[in-house]
Amino acid sequence: MVLELAKPRPIWQIMFSTHHTDVGLLYTIMSIAFFFLGGALALGIRAELFLPGSQIIGDSMTFNRMFTVHGTTLIFLFLLPFASAVGNYFVPIMVRYKDMAYPKLNAIAFWMIPPGGALIWLGFADFSWYATPPYSAISAPGPAADMWIFGLKILGVSSVLGSINFVVTILKCKHPDLPLSKVPLLAWSFLSSSLIVLVAIPSFAAALVMLLTDRLGVTGFFDPAKGGDPIAYQHLFWFTFHPEVYVLVIPAIGMMYEIIPRFSRRPIFSQSSGIFAFVVLSIVGFSSWAHHMYATGMSFTEKTVFMVGTLAAAPASAMHVFNFIATMWGARMRFATPMMWSVGGIALFFSAGAGGVANAAMPFDFITHDSYWVVGHFHLFVMGTIAFGSIGFLYYMFPYITGRMYNETMGKIHFIMSFIGTVMVFFTQHVLGLYGMPRRVFDYMPLPEYIIMNQITSVGAMIIGASMALWLFNMLYSSAKGKEANMDDPWGLGGKYYYPHQAKTPHH
């Protein structure tokens, strides 16, 4: 059993370990730390936008740097590393192997993240998370911009190394008695998301190098004055990052596949449909990248092709929703904290998907594109679905990591406040977008509709912030003073909390 805190070890033993549960613990702690750092920036942004005019942030450049680092942090330093944390803990156990396939590579992949994160935070670039040229090549102030490029380069390599490790662990180290079709869906989710990473990341990796040499003035890949094309960058970028959104969401769905059946006290409705949906999404996810570029002047035919490609990916996501509902239908559910987060996450996943379909319909996108609608759309995924799934899963892992129980009442209050806050913030942002408020703005026109909706959004954000402070307290307090968990069945579900419990960790 892994009782990290009940049997304290010196910190350096964990830091220099290559064991999968130790690397998993490092990933967990680091990603949660970055969650709070990035979240703090979001609260700053919302405080500034509470009223038109300048409130707490003196100048727009600081504001622009804040939303850039906010987005970069939460995607690359919270969501992705948190997924790796879960994968590290669970994938080897689920395929019945003693560790990850390449333990040293695993530790190296982790240790690349702190320098990447440091470059991003110390630089504090301003060109938004998608760094489009020509702005990023000729206008964005250095050295912040260059540090961001290097930081992302490092994080990209880390992500590729981690993915290779997951793929090999699952396909090559799986116990011979365990057929791939019986591998739990959580492990399947890591197989599909890792394969996506391996295909998707190279184009952005190339774009980053080209952007850097453009900034150094030695090339003009994206500079029309030198015969380059700024649109080429956008294709390279979105070829990576539309599939990457599935890299983010698939592990979160996998976490829900672990929690929903467990707390419904019955097996998943259909293992095969879950696998099918993962595989289909990993393939079809590559057919839609330019739906982010309708307004760049694409021809009618191009737009149509990418609209069809986008819509084609939706049924696979809808199948997961069906699978979850069918599993819960008529089941004896227990709404402990992890279950509440998962069910809430599924509800928000569904509404986010509906908004995505609307975006994909090309005439409608000319209303919503680069407006606050888009901010609302993708936050229902990144916050409402992926972060909700992840937070729920951290509650689920809590007894496993610490040997103690978190405080259940505080956990429920945390969920209820976050859910209310999330609905207030991101549903309202959809409407703000319909009223035409652009995204990435330091200030807005003092129209009464804009003001009231921005205020609802800001209040919602503060509710989320308060609930996260409560969460932090709960985690810190309970890991030291919480009551001892019953490691066979921490939630009294009558079944076995078997995966984590089986992990024997002979530290090597």
Binding site: S60, M61, N64, D126, F127, S128, T132, P134, Y135, I138, S139, A140, S181, P224, A225, D229, P230, I231, F269, S270, Q271, S272, S273, A295, T296, G297, F300, K303, T304, M307, V308, L311, A314, P315, A318, M319, F322, N323, A326, V357, A360, A361, M362, P363, F364, F366, I367, H369, D370, S371, Y435, G436, P438, R439, R440, V441, F442, D443, Y444, M445
Partner: protein, 140 residues
């Protein structure tokens, strides 16, 4: 594989696919209609640069930060950018097209109501992006 029949799921998937097909077909049709620029549309050259808009009419007159047009007439915007990318947006008329360095993007509209409308930049372009606005005056 799961040992029980799965037909409710297939029916559900079929319904989802039907809905998506409907959305796609409708979107295709609407876009096809709105993209058809009338031949008599008057050309307005639009240039975005950090952080203002310049408009040039067919007769060569230029306006900076404001644009005067006639109600009921069709106009075709030819949009480009000088320094970095911007996005030309008249939200009230669902006019949105990126202003890209080295490219000429077009979009058309016909204002049907006299009045003042906001023109704004919808693509992040640096320091004063949030304030990169102009005013459209539609006159009788």
């Amino acid at each position: 594989m799961s040992g029980h029949s799965n037909w409710p799921e297939w029916i559900y998937v079929a319904v989802v696919i039907c809905l998506l097909t409907y959305v796609g077909a409708e979107a295709w049709n609407v876009e096809r209609i709105v993209e058809h620029t009338p031949a008599e549309a008057e050309v307005i050259k639009v240039t975005g640069q950090q952080w203002f808009w310049t408009f040039e009419h067919e007769d060569g007159t230029k306006e900076v930060g404001e644009l005067h047009l006639k109600k009921g007439k069709p106009y075709k915007f030819e949009i480009t950018a000088k320094d970095v990318n911007h996005s030309f947006n008249i939200h009230d008329y669902v006019v949105l097209q990126d202003a890209i360095v080295g490219r000429l993007n077009t979009v058309w509209f016909a204002p049907d109501k006299a009045g003042e409308y906001t023109i704004q930049c919808r693509e992040y372009c640096g320091l004063l992006h949030y304030n990169m606005r102009a005013t459209l005056y539609v006159e009788e």
